[in-house]
Protein backbone atom coordinates (compact mmCIF):
# COMPACT_ATOMS: atom_id res chain seq x y z
CA UNK A 1 0.00 0.00 0.00
CA UNK A 2 1.16 3.53 -0.61
CA UNK A 3 3.04 5.53 2.01
CA UNK A 4 0.40 8.26 2.23
CA UNK A 5 -2.47 5.85 2.75
CA UNK A 6 -0.39 4.06 5.32
CA UNK A 7 0.41 7.19 7.33
CA UNK A 8 -3.23 8.30 7.14
CA UNK A 9 -4.19 5.09 8.98
CA UNK A 10 -1.81 5.90 11.84
CA UNK A 11 -3.89 8.85 13.07
CA UNK A 12 -7.07 6.80 13.20
CA UNK A 13 -9.08 6.58 16.43
CA UNK A 14 -10.76 3.50 17.88
CA UNK A 15 -14.17 5.04 17.17
CA UNK A 16 -13.37 5.94 13.56
CA UNK A 17 -11.45 2.70 12.95
CA UNK A 18 -14.38 0.60 14.15
CA UNK A 19 -16.72 2.40 11.71
CA UNK A 20 -14.36 2.11 8.75
CA UNK A 21 -13.63 -1.57 9.39
CA UNK A 22 -17.36 -2.32 9.50
CA UNK A 23 -17.97 -0.29 6.37
CA UNK A 24 -15.30 -2.35 4.61
CA UNK A 25 -13.24 0.75 3.76
CA UNK A 26 -10.16 -0.73 5.43
CA UNK A 27 -9.17 -4.14 6.68
CA UNK A 28 -7.77 -5.11 10.06
CA UNK A 29 -4.78 -6.58 8.26
CA UNK A 30 -3.99 -3.21 6.60
CA UNK A 31 -4.42 -1.43 9.88
CA UNK A 32 -2.34 -3.90 11.88
CA UNK A 33 0.36 -3.94 9.19
CA UNK A 34 0.50 -0.13 9.18
CA UNK A 35 1.15 -0.01 12.93
CA UNK A 36 3.66 -2.86 12.83
CA UNK A 37 5.53 -1.00 10.05
CA UNK A 38 5.41 2.19 12.11
CA UNK A 39 6.85 0.35 15.12
CA UNK A 40 9.62 -1.10 12.93
CA UNK A 41 10.40 2.37 11.52
CA UNK A 42 10.40 4.31 14.79
CA UNK A 43 11.03 2.10 17.78
CA UNK A 44 14.82 2.17 17.52
CA UNK A 45 14.42 5.80 18.67
CA UNK A 46 11.29 5.70 20.84
CA UNK A 47 11.95 2.30 22.45
CA UNK A 48 8.39 1.91 23.69
CA UNK A 49 8.13 -1.84 23.13
CA UNK A 50 9.72 -4.62 25.17
CA UNK A 51 8.05 -7.28 23.02
CA UNK A 52 6.31 -6.97 19.62
CA UNK A 53 3.92 -9.83 18.87
CA UNK A 54 3.83 -9.42 15.10
CA UNK A 55 2.91 -12.97 14.17
CA UNK A 56 -0.06 -13.35 16.52
CA UNK A 57 -1.23 -9.80 15.72
CA UNK A 58 -1.37 -10.56 11.98
CA UNK A 59 -3.10 -13.91 12.63
CA UNK A 60 -5.71 -12.19 14.82
CA UNK A 61 -6.16 -9.52 12.14
CA UNK A 62 -6.95 -12.26 9.57
CA UNK A 63 -9.57 -13.68 11.91
CA UNK A 64 -11.03 -10.24 12.52
CA UNK A 65 -11.25 -9.62 8.77
CA UNK A 66 -13.15 -12.83 8.20
CA UNK A 67 -15.62 -11.89 10.96
CA UNK A 68 -15.95 -8.40 9.50
CA UNK A 69 -16.48 -9.58 5.94
CA UNK A 70 -19.13 -12.10 6.97
CA UNK A 71 -20.91 -9.48 9.08
CA UNK A 72 -20.34 -11.46 12.30
CA UNK A 73 -18.15 -8.85 14.00
CA UNK A 74 -20.34 -7.90 16.96
CA UNK A 75 -17.50 -7.12 19.40
CA UNK A 76 -16.92 -3.34 19.63
CA UNK A 77 -13.14 -3.33 19.14
CA UNK A 78 -12.97 -5.99 16.43
CA UNK A 79 -9.76 -5.72 14.44
CA UNK A 80 -8.33 -2.67 16.25
CA UNK A 81 -4.64 -2.89 17.26
CA UNK A 82 -3.67 -1.85 20.79
CA UNK A 83 -0.66 -2.28 23.12
CA UNK A 84 -0.33 -3.50 26.70
CA UNK A 85 1.91 -2.33 29.54
CA UNK A 86 4.33 -5.12 30.40
CA UNK A 87 2.89 -5.35 33.91
CA UNK A 88 -0.22 -7.14 32.59
CA UNK A 89 -0.08 -10.92 32.44
CA UNK A 90 -0.42 -12.24 28.88
CA UNK A 91 -0.76 -15.98 28.37
CA UNK A 92 2.13 -17.33 26.34
CA UNK A 93 3.71 -13.87 25.88
CA UNK A 94 6.74 -12.90 27.99
CA UNK A 95 5.77 -10.48 30.77
CA UNK A 96 8.60 -8.77 32.66
CA UNK A 97 7.19 -5.76 34.58
CA UNK A 98 10.43 -4.07 33.46
CA UNK A 99 12.43 -6.27 35.85
CA UNK A 100 15.29 -8.76 35.54
CA UNK A 101 13.38 -10.70 38.18
CA UNK A 102 10.83 -11.65 35.51
CA UNK A 103 13.22 -11.84 32.56
CA UNK A 104 12.00 -15.33 31.66
CA UNK A 105 8.37 -15.24 32.79
CA UNK A 106 5.88 -16.55 30.24
CA UNK A 107 2.54 -16.37 32.07
CA UNK A 108 0.16 -19.34 32.05
CA UNK A 109 -2.90 -17.05 32.16
CA UNK A 110 -4.21 -13.68 30.96
CA UNK A 111 -5.03 -10.69 33.15
CA UNK A 112 -8.80 -10.08 33.26
CA UNK A 113 -8.38 -6.85 31.26
CA UNK A 114 -6.44 -8.75 28.60
CA UNK A 115 -9.18 -11.37 28.21
CA UNK A 116 -11.81 -8.63 28.12
CA UNK A 117 -9.98 -6.80 25.34
CA UNK A 118 -9.72 -10.08 23.43
CA UNK A 119 -13.44 -10.68 23.91
CA UNK A 120 -14.02 -7.13 22.67
CA UNK A 121 -12.09 -8.07 19.52
CA UNK A 122 -8.93 -5.96 20.01
CA UNK A 123 -5.59 -7.11 18.64
CA UNK A 124 -2.46 -6.86 20.80
CA UNK A 125 0.67 -5.54 19.10
CA UNK A 126 2.84 -6.34 22.11
CA UNK A 127 4.12 -5.34 25.53
CA UNK A 128 5.21 -1.85 26.50
CA UNK A 129 8.16 -0.62 28.53
CA UNK A 130 7.80 0.71 32.07
CA UNK A 131 9.69 1.56 35.22
CA UNK A 132 10.54 -1.64 37.05
CA UNK A 133 7.44 -2.98 38.84
CA UNK A 134 5.75 0.37 38.01
CA UNK A 135 8.00 2.28 40.43
CA UNK A 136 9.12 5.50 38.81
CA UNK A 137 8.06 8.63 36.98
CA UNK A 138 10.36 8.57 33.94
CA UNK A 139 10.66 5.01 32.55
CA UNK A 140 14.40 5.38 33.22
CA UNK A 141 14.09 2.64 35.84
CA UNK A 142 13.24 -0.12 33.36
CA UNK A 143 15.77 -2.94 33.65
CA UNK A 144 15.86 -3.12 29.84
CA UNK A 145 16.26 0.42 28.43
CA UNK A 146 14.79 3.89 28.86
CA UNK A 147 11.89 4.95 26.60
CA UNK A 148 12.13 8.34 24.87
CA UNK A 149 9.49 11.06 24.62
CA UNK A 150 8.28 11.22 20.99
CA UNK A 151 8.07 15.04 21.25
CA UNK A 152 11.75 15.35 22.13
CA UNK A 153 13.83 12.20 22.14
CA UNK A 154 16.21 13.67 24.73
CA UNK A 155 13.38 13.86 27.24
CA UNK A 156 11.61 11.23 29.33
CA UNK A 157 8.07 10.09 28.46
CA UNK A 158 7.09 10.10 32.14
CA UNK A 159 6.32 6.96 34.03
CA UNK A 160 5.80 4.40 35.09
CA UNK A 161 3.65 3.65 32.00
CA UNK A 162 6.08 5.54 29.73
CA UNK A 163 6.01 2.94 26.96
CA UNK A 164 2.19 2.98 26.86
CA UNK A 165 2.09 6.79 26.56
CA UNK A 166 4.96 7.06 24.06
CA UNK A 167 3.49 4.34 21.81
CA UNK A 168 0.24 6.29 21.40
CA UNK A 169 2.06 9.62 20.91
CA UNK A 170 4.42 8.07 18.33
CA UNK A 171 1.44 6.55 16.49
CA UNK A 172 2.66 3.01 17.09
CA UNK A 173 -0.72 1.94 18.53
CA UNK A 174 -4.23 3.38 18.38
CA UNK A 175 -4.53 2.94 22.13
CA UNK A 176 -2.80 1.18 25.00
CA UNK A 177 -3.38 0.08 28.57
CA UNK A 178 -1.30 1.22 31.52
CA UNK A 179 -1.54 1.15 35.30
CA UNK A 180 -1.66 4.02 37.77
CA UNK A 181 -0.64 3.75 41.44
CA UNK A 182 0.34 7.39 42.07
CA UNK A 183 0.06 8.94 38.61
CA UNK A 184 1.62 6.31 36.35
CA UNK A 185 -1.05 6.76 33.66
CA UNK A 186 -1.79 10.48 33.98
CA UNK A 187 1.75 11.90 34.31
CA UNK A 188 3.09 10.11 31.19
CA UNK A 189 -0.12 11.05 29.34
CA UNK A 190 0.62 14.67 30.26
CA UNK A 191 4.28 14.43 29.19
CA UNK A 192 3.41 12.75 25.87
CA UNK A 193 0.34 14.82 24.91
CA UNK A 194 -2.22 12.00 24.97
CA UNK A 195 -5.33 11.12 26.97
CA UNK A 196 -4.78 8.96 30.09
CA UNK A 197 -7.57 7.77 32.38
CA UNK A 198 -7.24 6.27 35.85
CA UNK A 199 -10.64 4.80 36.69
CA UNK A 200 -12.13 4.64 40.20
CA UNK A 201 -10.27 2.16 42.39
CA UNK A 202 -12.40 -0.98 42.02
CA UNK A 203 -13.90 -0.09 38.62
CA UNK A 204 -11.48 -2.35 36.72
CA UNK A 205 -10.27 -5.78 37.82
CA UNK A 206 -6.66 -5.99 38.94
CA UNK A 207 -6.49 -9.77 38.44
CA UNK A 208 -3.32 -10.44 36.46
CA UNK A 209 -1.86 -6.98 37.11
CA UNK A 210 1.54 -7.60 38.72
CA UNK A 211 0.93 -5.91 42.07
CA UNK A 212 2.82 -2.85 43.28
CA UNK A 213 0.57 -1.22 45.96
CA UNK A 214 -2.70 -3.12 46.05
CA UNK A 215 -4.85 -0.45 47.73
CA UNK A 216 -3.84 2.11 45.07
CA UNK A 217 -3.18 0.23 41.79
CA UNK A 218 -5.69 0.65 38.96
CA UNK A 219 -5.58 -0.18 35.24
CA UNK A 220 -6.69 2.32 32.61
CA UNK A 221 -6.45 3.42 28.97
CA UNK A 222 -4.17 5.71 26.94
CA UNK A 223 -5.82 7.07 23.81
CA UNK A 224 -5.70 9.98 21.41
CA UNK A 225 -9.25 11.12 22.17
CA UNK A 226 -11.60 11.15 25.14
CA UNK A 227 -14.19 9.20 23.14
CA UNK A 228 -11.64 6.40 22.68
CA UNK A 229 -10.88 6.40 26.42
CA UNK A 230 -14.60 5.86 27.03
CA UNK A 231 -14.64 2.98 24.52
CA UNK A 232 -11.65 1.25 26.06
CA UNK A 233 -12.93 1.74 29.63
CA UNK A 234 -16.27 0.26 28.55
CA UNK A 235 -14.46 -2.87 27.39
CA UNK A 236 -12.44 -3.45 30.57
CA UNK A 237 -14.70 -2.17 33.39
CA UNK A 238 -16.97 -4.16 35.66
CA UNK A 239 -16.96 -6.73 38.43
CA UNK A 240 -14.74 -9.79 38.28
CA UNK A 241 -15.00 -12.84 40.54
CA UNK A 242 -11.19 -12.98 40.49
CA UNK A 243 -10.80 -9.54 42.14
CA UNK A 244 -12.78 -9.06 45.35
CA UNK A 245 -11.86 -5.34 45.46
CA UNK A 246 -13.88 -4.74 42.28
CA UNK A 247 -17.17 -2.90 42.79
CA UNK A 248 -20.21 -4.97 41.99
CA UNK A 249 -21.73 -1.84 40.45
CA UNK A 250 -23.42 -1.47 37.07
CA UNK A 251 -21.14 -0.04 34.39
CA UNK A 252 -22.84 2.93 32.70
CA UNK A 253 -22.80 3.50 28.97
CA UNK A 254 -19.86 5.93 28.99
CA UNK A 255 -20.32 6.92 25.37
CA UNK A 256 -23.92 8.02 25.96
CA UNK A 257 -22.77 10.70 28.42
CA UNK A 258 -19.89 12.15 26.43
CA UNK A 259 -21.95 15.04 25.04
CA UNK A 260 -23.39 16.36 28.28
CA UNK A 261 -21.60 19.70 27.72
CA UNK A 262 -20.27 22.30 30.16
CA UNK A 263 -23.37 24.33 30.92
CA UNK A 264 -23.69 24.87 34.67
CA UNK A 265 -21.01 22.30 35.48
CA UNK A 266 -19.56 23.13 38.91
CA UNK A 267 -15.79 22.88 38.67
CA UNK A 268 -13.60 23.24 41.78
CA UNK A 269 -10.03 24.49 41.44
CA UNK A 270 -8.74 23.94 45.00
CA UNK A 271 -5.84 26.24 45.79
CA UNK A 272 -3.59 23.38 47.00
CA UNK A 273 -3.48 22.07 43.41
CA UNK A 274 -2.24 25.44 42.15
CA UNK A 275 0.70 25.79 44.47
CA UNK A 276 4.45 26.19 44.51
CA UNK A 277 6.50 23.95 42.34
CA UNK A 278 4.30 24.45 39.29
CA UNK A 279 6.38 25.75 36.41
CA UNK A 280 5.33 28.94 34.67
CA UNK A 281 4.45 27.36 31.34
CA UNK A 282 2.26 24.79 33.10
CA UNK A 283 0.54 27.54 35.12
CA UNK A 284 -0.04 29.70 32.02
CA UNK A 285 -1.45 26.78 30.04
CA UNK A 286 -3.77 25.64 32.82
CA UNK A 287 -5.06 29.20 33.37
CA UNK A 288 -5.91 29.45 29.68
CA UNK A 289 -7.76 26.14 29.88
CA UNK A 290 -9.76 27.36 32.90
CA UNK A 291 -10.68 30.54 31.01
CA UNK A 292 -11.87 28.48 28.06
CA UNK A 293 -13.99 26.22 30.28
CA UNK A 294 -15.43 29.25 32.03
CA UNK A 295 -16.21 31.08 28.78
CA UNK A 296 -18.16 28.04 27.64
CA UNK A 297 -20.52 27.63 30.55
CA UNK A 298 -18.56 25.89 33.32
CA UNK A 299 -18.59 27.56 36.74
CA UNK A 300 -15.03 27.65 38.02
CA UNK A 301 -14.74 27.99 41.80
CA UNK A 302 -11.27 28.79 43.09
CA UNK A 303 -12.31 29.12 46.72
CA UNK A 304 -12.15 25.49 47.95
CA UNK A 305 -9.24 24.64 50.20
CA UNK A 306 -8.05 21.10 50.87
CA UNK A 307 -5.39 21.57 53.55
CA UNK A 308 -4.56 17.86 53.85
CA UNK A 309 -3.87 17.43 50.13
CA UNK A 310 -0.18 18.45 50.42
CA UNK A 311 0.13 15.49 52.82
CA UNK A 312 -0.89 13.06 50.06
CA UNK A 313 2.72 12.72 48.87
CA UNK A 314 4.16 11.71 52.27
CA UNK A 315 1.14 9.43 52.84
CA UNK A 316 1.86 7.79 49.49
CA UNK A 317 5.55 7.30 50.28
CA UNK A 318 4.58 5.37 53.39
CA UNK A 319 1.66 3.36 52.03
CA UNK A 320 3.00 2.44 48.58
CA UNK A 321 6.44 1.21 49.76
CA UNK A 322 4.79 -0.66 52.65
CA UNK A 323 2.42 -2.46 50.33
CA UNK A 324 5.22 -3.08 47.81
CA UNK A 325 7.50 -4.60 50.43
CA UNK A 326 4.76 -7.13 51.16
CA UNK A 327 3.75 -7.72 47.52
CA UNK A 328 7.30 -8.17 46.27
CA UNK A 329 8.10 -10.70 49.00
CA UNK A 330 6.72 -13.29 46.57
CA UNK A 331 9.79 -13.01 44.34
CA UNK A 332 11.86 -15.70 46.00
CA UNK A 333 13.48 -17.29 42.93
CA UNK A 334 11.65 -20.59 43.44
CA UNK A 335 8.43 -20.66 41.46
CA UNK A 336 9.04 -18.45 38.41
CA UNK A 337 11.33 -15.81 37.00
CA UNK A 338 14.96 -15.36 37.92
CA UNK A 339 16.45 -17.67 40.57
CA UNK A 340 20.07 -17.60 41.75
CA UNK A 341 21.35 -21.06 42.58
CA UNK A 342 24.99 -20.62 43.55
CA UNK A 343 24.49 -20.16 47.29
CA UNK A 344 25.04 -22.65 50.08
CA UNK A 345 21.52 -22.42 51.45
CA UNK A 346 17.97 -21.51 50.53
CA UNK A 347 18.39 -18.13 52.25
CA UNK A 348 21.65 -17.37 50.46
CA UNK A 349 19.98 -18.15 47.12
CA UNK A 350 16.99 -15.97 47.97
CA UNK A 351 19.16 -13.03 49.01
CA UNK A 352 21.23 -13.36 45.84
CA UNK A 353 18.07 -13.69 43.72
CA UNK A 354 16.71 -10.44 45.12
CA UNK A 355 20.10 -8.69 44.95
CA UNK A 356 20.47 -9.37 41.22
CA UNK A 357 16.77 -9.50 40.29
CA UNK A 358 15.69 -6.11 41.64
CA UNK A 359 16.95 -2.69 40.54
CA UNK A 360 17.92 0.17 42.86
CA UNK A 361 14.59 1.98 42.95
CA UNK A 362 12.73 -1.22 43.81
CA UNK A 363 15.21 -2.13 46.56
CA UNK A 364 14.96 1.37 48.02
CA UNK A 365 11.18 1.18 48.20
CA UNK A 366 11.16 -2.33 49.68
CA UNK A 367 13.58 -1.15 52.40
CA UNK A 368 11.50 1.98 53.05
CA UNK A 369 8.32 -0.08 53.32
CA UNK A 370 9.89 -2.61 55.64
CA UNK A 371 11.00 0.29 57.84
CA UNK A 372 7.53 1.89 57.93
CA UNK A 373 5.97 -1.45 58.88
CA UNK A 374 8.57 -2.55 61.41
CA UNK A 375 8.01 -2.81 65.14
CA UNK A 376 8.30 0.57 66.84
CA UNK A 377 7.64 2.58 63.67
CA UNK A 378 4.31 1.11 62.54
CA UNK A 379 2.16 3.55 64.54
CA UNK A 380 4.27 6.59 63.67
CA UNK A 381 4.38 5.89 59.95
CA UNK A 382 1.99 3.30 58.53
CA UNK A 383 -0.98 3.81 60.85
CA UNK A 384 -0.56 7.60 60.85
CA UNK A 385 -0.48 7.55 57.02
CA UNK A 386 -3.71 5.54 56.93
CA UNK A 387 -5.38 8.06 59.24
CA UNK A 388 -4.25 11.03 57.14
CA UNK A 389 -5.56 9.08 54.15
CA UNK A 390 -8.99 9.26 55.81
CA UNK A 391 -8.63 13.05 56.25
CA UNK A 392 -7.77 13.44 52.55
CA UNK A 393 -10.79 11.35 51.53
CA UNK A 394 -13.04 13.51 53.73
CA UNK A 395 -11.75 16.70 52.10
CA UNK A 396 -12.58 15.31 48.66
CA UNK A 397 -16.06 14.37 49.93
CA UNK A 398 -16.57 17.93 51.18
CA UNK A 399 -15.57 19.46 47.84
CA UNK A 400 -17.77 17.03 45.91
CA UNK A 401 -20.76 17.93 48.09
CA UNK A 402 -20.86 21.23 46.18
CA UNK A 403 -18.97 20.55 42.94
CA UNK A 404 -19.20 18.06 40.08
CA UNK A 405 -15.51 17.78 39.29
CA UNK A 406 -12.08 19.06 40.37
CA UNK A 407 -9.67 20.59 37.86
CA UNK A 408 -5.88 20.67 38.35
CA UNK A 409 -2.64 20.44 36.45
CA UNK A 410 -1.55 16.83 35.92
CA UNK A 411 2.13 17.41 36.64
CA UNK A 412 4.05 20.44 37.95
CA UNK A 413 6.36 20.51 34.89
CA UNK A 414 6.56 19.42 31.28
CA UNK A 415 8.71 16.38 30.41
CA UNK A 416 12.28 16.75 31.68
CA UNK A 417 15.55 15.64 30.10
CA UNK A 418 16.73 12.07 30.59
CA UNK A 419 19.09 11.90 33.56
CA UNK A 420 18.05 15.36 34.81
CA UNK A 421 16.56 14.16 38.10
CA UNK A 422 18.81 12.00 40.26
CA UNK A 423 17.48 12.71 43.75
CA UNK A 424 14.72 10.18 44.59
CA UNK A 425 12.51 12.69 46.40
CA UNK A 426 12.75 15.25 43.57
CA UNK A 427 11.55 12.48 41.24
CA UNK A 428 8.67 11.69 43.61
CA UNK A 429 7.50 15.35 43.41
CA UNK A 430 6.43 14.70 39.80
CA UNK A 431 3.36 12.97 41.18
CA UNK A 432 2.35 15.65 43.66
CA UNK A 433 -0.89 16.51 41.79
CA UNK A 434 -1.79 12.95 40.72
CA UNK A 435 -1.29 11.06 44.00
CA UNK A 436 -4.30 12.57 45.85
CA UNK A 437 -6.79 10.78 43.52
CA UNK A 438 -5.09 7.44 44.21
CA UNK A 439 -5.09 8.05 47.97
CA UNK A 440 -8.85 8.73 47.83
CA UNK A 441 -9.58 5.99 45.25
CA UNK A 442 -11.15 8.52 42.85
CA UNK A 443 -11.25 8.49 39.04
CA UNK A 444 -9.06 11.05 37.25
CA UNK A 445 -8.13 11.84 33.68
CA UNK A 446 -5.30 13.76 32.03
CA UNK A 447 -5.97 15.28 28.62
CA UNK A 448 -3.80 17.46 26.39
CA UNK A 449 -4.23 21.05 27.61
CA UNK A 450 -1.79 22.88 25.36
CA UNK A 451 1.94 23.37 25.02
CA UNK A 452 4.64 25.00 27.11
CA UNK A 453 7.06 27.61 25.85
CA UNK A 454 9.45 24.93 24.60
CA UNK A 455 6.76 23.13 22.62
CA UNK A 456 6.27 20.29 25.09
CA UNK A 457 2.74 19.09 25.93
CA UNK A 458 1.01 20.14 29.16
CA UNK A 459 -1.67 17.92 30.70
CA UNK A 460 -4.95 19.12 32.18
CA UNK A 461 -6.34 16.91 34.93
CA UNK A 462 -9.90 16.35 36.10
CA UNK A 463 -10.73 14.36 39.24
CA UNK A 464 -14.24 13.00 39.70
CA UNK A 465 -16.41 11.38 42.32
CA UNK A 466 -16.21 7.68 43.09
CA UNK A 467 -17.61 5.64 40.17
CA UNK A 468 -18.45 8.81 38.25
CA UNK A 469 -16.12 8.43 35.27
CA UNK A 470 -19.05 9.67 33.14
CA UNK A 471 -18.82 13.25 34.41
CA UNK A 472 -15.04 13.21 33.95
CA UNK A 473 -15.30 11.95 30.40
CA UNK A 474 -18.06 14.48 29.69
CA UNK A 475 -16.05 17.54 30.76
CA UNK A 476 -12.87 16.18 29.17
CA UNK A 477 -14.70 15.60 25.90
CA UNK A 478 -16.23 19.08 26.02
CA UNK A 479 -12.79 20.64 26.51
CA UNK A 480 -11.36 18.52 23.70
CA UNK A 481 -14.08 19.78 21.34
CA UNK A 482 -13.13 23.36 22.21
CA UNK A 483 -9.36 22.95 21.99
CA UNK A 484 -8.31 19.82 20.18
CA UNK A 485 -4.58 19.68 20.83
CA UNK A 486 -4.56 15.98 19.99
CA UNK A 487 -4.59 16.72 16.27
CA UNK A 488 -1.07 18.14 16.53
CA UNK A 489 1.37 15.21 16.26
CA UNK A 490 4.98 15.12 17.50
CA UNK A 491 7.39 15.84 14.67
CA UNK A 492 10.55 14.35 16.13
CA UNK A 493 9.95 10.67 15.50
CA UNK A 494 10.04 10.98 11.74
CA UNK A 495 7.13 10.59 9.35
CA UNK A 496 6.31 7.32 7.69
Amino acid sequence: MSATANSELLTITLADGAKRLRAGEITSRELTRAFLDRIAATDDRVRAFVTVTEESALAEAEQADSLLSSGDATAPLTGLPIGLKDVLMTKGVRTTAGSRMLDTLVPPYDATVVSRLQEAGAISLGKLNMDEFAMGSSTEHSAWFPTANPWDLQRVPGGSSGGSAAAVAAQQCIATLGSDTGGSIRQPASFCGVVGLKPTYGRVSRHGLIAFASSLDQIGPFTRTVEDAAMLLQAIAGPDPLDSTCYDAPVPDFDAELDRGLDGLRVAAPREFFSDGMHDDVATTIEAALDLLSANGAIIDRSPSMPSVPMALPVYYILAPSECSANLARFDGVKYGYGARQGESMWADMEATRKHGFGREVKRRILLGAYALSAGYYDAYYLQAQKVRTLIRREFDRVFAEHDVIVAPTAPTVAFKQGAITDPYQMYLNDIFTIPANIAGLPAISIPGGFGADGMPVGLQFVGQRLDESTLLGIANAYEQLADWSTIPPSNVGST
Binding site: T104, L105, V106, P107, P108, Y109, Y201, S215, P241, S244, T245, Y247, D248, S308, M311, L313, P314, V315, Y317, I318, A329, G333, V334, K335, Y336, Y338, G339, G343, S345, M346, W347, D349, M350, E351, A352, R354, K355, F358, K363, I366, L367, L368, Y371, S374, G376, D379, A380, Y381, Q384, A385, Q386, K387, V388, T390, L391, R393, D423, P424, Y425, G441
Partner: protein, 103 residues
Protein backbone atom coordinates in the same frame (compact mmCIF):
# COMPACT_ATOMS: atom_id res chain seq x y z
CA UNK B 1 4.77 4.42 70.22
CA UNK B 2 8.37 5.19 69.34
CA UNK B 3 9.14 8.50 67.81
CA UNK B 4 10.98 8.01 64.55
CA UNK B 5 14.20 10.00 64.56
CA UNK B 6 15.30 9.85 60.96
CA UNK B 7 18.32 12.08 61.38
CA UNK B 8 19.89 9.15 63.21
CA UNK B 9 19.13 6.59 60.51
CA UNK B 10 22.11 4.23 60.70
CA UNK B 11 23.94 1.77 58.47
CA UNK B 12 23.11 -0.89 61.04
CA UNK B 13 19.39 -0.21 60.52
CA UNK B 14 19.79 -0.55 56.75
CA UNK B 15 21.56 -3.89 57.21
CA UNK B 16 18.81 -5.05 59.56
CA UNK B 17 16.08 -4.03 57.09
CA UNK B 18 17.93 -5.73 54.24
CA UNK B 19 18.07 -8.96 56.25
CA UNK B 20 14.33 -8.72 56.96
CA UNK B 21 13.48 -8.36 53.26
CA UNK B 22 16.14 -10.86 52.14
CA UNK B 23 18.14 -8.58 49.89
CA UNK B 24 21.91 -8.87 49.90
CA UNK B 25 23.51 -5.39 49.84
CA UNK B 26 27.10 -4.33 49.20
CA UNK B 27 28.75 -1.97 51.68
CA UNK B 28 28.50 0.92 49.25
CA UNK B 29 24.79 0.20 48.74
CA UNK B 30 24.26 0.23 52.51
CA UNK B 31 25.71 3.73 52.69
CA UNK B 32 23.80 4.99 49.63
CA UNK B 33 20.49 3.65 50.88
CA UNK B 34 21.17 5.02 54.38
CA UNK B 35 21.60 8.50 52.99
CA UNK B 36 18.67 8.26 50.55
CA UNK B 37 16.26 6.79 53.09
CA UNK B 38 17.22 9.44 55.65
CA UNK B 39 16.51 12.13 53.07
CA UNK B 40 13.15 10.64 52.02
CA UNK B 41 12.10 10.15 55.64
CA UNK B 42 12.97 13.75 56.47
CA UNK B 43 10.33 14.85 53.92
CA UNK B 44 7.82 12.31 55.19
CA UNK B 45 8.18 13.34 58.82
CA UNK B 46 5.73 16.24 58.30
CA UNK B 47 3.02 13.57 58.65
CA UNK B 48 3.63 13.30 62.36
CA UNK B 49 2.48 16.91 62.81
CA UNK B 50 -1.04 16.19 61.56
CA UNK B 51 -3.66 15.83 64.28
CA UNK B 52 -5.37 12.47 63.72
CA UNK B 53 -6.95 12.13 67.16
CA UNK B 54 -10.10 10.02 66.75
CA UNK B 55 -9.63 9.55 62.98
CA UNK B 56 -10.07 5.95 61.81
CA UNK B 57 -7.50 4.54 59.36
CA UNK B 58 -8.39 3.89 55.70
CA UNK B 59 -6.86 0.60 54.66
CA UNK B 60 -8.94 -0.22 51.62
CA UNK B 61 -9.14 1.75 48.40
CA UNK B 62 -12.74 0.82 47.74
CA UNK B 63 -14.79 0.80 50.97
CA UNK B 64 -15.74 -2.81 50.38
CA UNK B 65 -16.04 -5.25 53.26
CA UNK B 66 -16.31 -9.03 53.39
CA UNK B 67 -16.81 -9.64 49.70
CA UNK B 68 -17.55 -13.34 49.38
CA UNK B 69 -17.23 -15.71 46.49
CA UNK B 70 -19.42 -18.74 45.96
CA UNK B 71 -17.69 -21.78 47.41
CA UNK B 72 -17.58 -23.67 44.13
CA UNK B 73 -14.65 -25.74 42.91
CA UNK B 74 -12.87 -24.36 39.87
CA UNK B 75 -10.44 -26.19 37.66
CA UNK B 76 -6.85 -25.52 38.74
CA UNK B 77 -4.19 -24.34 36.33
CA UNK B 78 -2.49 -27.27 34.55
CA UNK B 79 0.58 -28.39 36.51
CA UNK B 80 2.80 -28.27 33.45
CA UNK B 81 1.81 -24.66 32.70
CA UNK B 82 2.86 -23.62 36.19
CA UNK B 83 6.08 -25.64 36.38
CA UNK B 84 7.17 -24.39 32.95
CA UNK B 85 8.32 -21.13 34.60
CA UNK B 86 10.29 -22.74 37.45
CA UNK B 87 13.94 -21.66 37.60
CA UNK B 88 14.74 -25.25 38.58
CA UNK B 89 12.45 -28.23 38.68
CA UNK B 90 12.70 -31.92 39.36
CA UNK B 91 9.89 -34.09 38.04
CA UNK B 92 6.70 -32.36 39.18
CA UNK B 93 8.34 -30.27 41.90
CA UNK B 94 10.11 -26.94 42.31
CA UNK B 95 13.73 -27.72 43.14
CA UNK B 96 15.22 -25.83 46.11
CA UNK B 97 17.97 -26.31 48.69
CA UNK B 98 17.08 -28.57 51.58
CA UNK B 99 15.58 -26.44 54.35
CA UNK B 100 15.39 -29.12 57.04
CA UNK B 101 18.24 -30.88 58.75
CA UNK B 102 18.64 -34.22 56.98
CA UNK B 103 20.26 -36.08 59.91
Amino acid sequence: MSEADTTQFTSEQVRHLASLVRIELTESEVEEFRSELASILSHIDALSEIDTEGVPPTNNGADLLNVQDSDAAQPAMPREAVLANAPQREDDYFRVHAVLDQS
